[in-house]
Amino acid sequence: MTTTVHDDKAAPWFVDFQDVWLAYNEQLLQQNHFAVEAIDLKVRQGEFIAIVGPSGCGKSTFMKLTTGLKMPSMGKILIDGQPVTGPLKISGMAFQAPSLLPWRTTVDNVLLPLEIVEPYRSQFKAKRAEYVERARKLLQKVGLGGYEDKFPWQLSGGMQQRASICRALIHEPKMLLLDEPFGALDAFTREELWCILRDLWTEQRFNVILVTHDLRESVFLADTVYVMSKSPGRFVVRREIELPRPRDLEVTYTQKFSDIVHELRGHIGAIRQTGAHTTA
């Protein structure tokens, strides 16, 4: 990172990466071939961060590290003050493909995490009615009222993605990880979902880590945008987005907004250029 965080050292960071390196296996480790390198990251409680970068730059690897699905080869990761030792149940994930289960209704799809994660799991039978109510409320909140008992294949792509986000949030995670969640949607649906995500976050203030390659998306939604470089995956730029909240879609048409997008675009362009030079 070009900018180091000089805030109060004692601040209770929610996500705290301390010089994290990851190679996918022993062989790659010996060849010093890392998927992500030297990641230092400090995220406040409730902060919304976005990670942008060219495809194949290790954004998804970063997500696996944050959720404890992968352990770093070197360095240390603390989430909510605790060292990460395995899959982190306090996180919810959603991806570009909604991957809903076609034999379950929308509400049953959203309930799936509660059938798996403790403490809900052991109370699932007893408290089913309560959980169903909760899932329905959440679905109504994202505009899927009336579609709760439909099957995923009866919903449009945007609706499926909303349901997928509900599934990620049903167990009230402290951290929401989104891997290009709106990548497959058309521009209008995408903007609609930005607002839904913004509203959910404003209300519940979980941490969000949004991986995307849509710069406008990252600037509109995030408090802080990180730009990642490609092979090795490193954070090269940290940009705080000082646009005031609440943000409205109108903000995306302001000069200030496009300046920030432009600036980030410049960084990405620079990365791509140097990448081209080294491979040529």
């Binding site: 994930m93 991806f95 493909a97 909604p98 991957s99 995490p113 059938e115 403790e118 499926q160 891997d179």
Partner: protein
């Protein structure tokens, strides 16, 4: 609307046309009933021996169903094991493919030595010939899981077992029912083939004895009965499949 109606009746119309053609050829060319019986001859023989045919058909039917039942149990269990473990898949699959390539009729003499003439060889042949597609389909259904979905569940602390039960098994159900349709017809083949050499009852036995008595009409009637039984069972599983796994037949997720 009209087109749909025609489509529905098409197989029946074709069947009638074929039977008529067959009858006309037999009558016109005066083919001997001992060589190639006409449909009319088969029908009269069928009526004449319907009691005997029914008894043999019942025997073939229940023997097939027992063999098929064992095939479902073994096929599902084996499929579950090799579909849920990469190592088991690597170890078992090539051997199973080799085994499947063996002609099952060749097992009959061996089974006779082990179990004697009668029910044993027929049940086992039906089983041996029909468990393979069931196993393969269960395994395939289990093994094709989106990595993203696996991440979503694993991060919540899902064990392999949770993923298998919540996602893998339901996902493999359409494959499973599809394989039942194929397997039941194979099971009838297995039973009949086995009965031809290793039984004193069943359609297979009837075929052989009618043939050696030059009662071709009766032999053909027996064949038709096996075919009809297999078709009815096929359609039955087809209906069950449509009703239990409707989600798989409507164009799944929108991508």
């Amino acid at each position: 609307m009209n087109k749909k109606l025609i489509e529905m009746w098409a197989p029946w119309i074709l069947l009638v046309v074929l039977i008529l053609l067959w009858q006309i050829l037999c009558s016109a060319l005066e083919v001997s009933e001992f060589i190639f019986p006409s449909p009319w001859r088969i029908w009269t023989q069928f009526l004449e021996f319907k009691g005997i045919i029914a008894a043999h058909a019942w025997r073939t039917f229940w023997v097939t169903m027992v063999g098929f039942g064992i095939a479902i149990v073994v096929g599902v269990l084996l499929g579950f094991v090799i579909g849920s473990s990469r190592l088991a898949y690597a170890a078992v699959y090539p051997l199973m493919t080799g085994f499947n390539a063996l002609p099952k009729a060749a097992f009959v003499p061996i089974l006779v030595v082990w179990f004697g003439i009668g029910v044993g060889p027929a049940i086992l042949t039906a089983f041996l010939i029909s468990f393979f597609p069931i196993m393969v389909n269960i395994a395939t259904g289990l093994a094709t899981l989106e990595p993203e979905l696996e991440d979503v569940l694993r991060v919540l602390g899902a064990k392999r077992w949770d993923v298998l039960v919540k996602v893998g098994l339901p996902r493999s159900m359409p494959y499973f029912y599809g394989s039942l349709k194929v397997a039941i017809t194979l099971a009838f083949v297995g039973t009949t083939v086995s009965e031809m050499t290793a039984a004193n009852e069943g359609i297979g036995y009837l075929l052989i004895s009618a043939g050696s008595a030059m009662q071709m009409g009766l032999a053909f009637a027996g064949l038709l009965v096996v075919g009809a039984m297999a078709m009815v069972m096929y359609e039955l599983f087809s209906v069950i499949e449509k009703h239990t796994t409707a989600w798989a037949h409507r164009g799944s997720q929108g991508h």
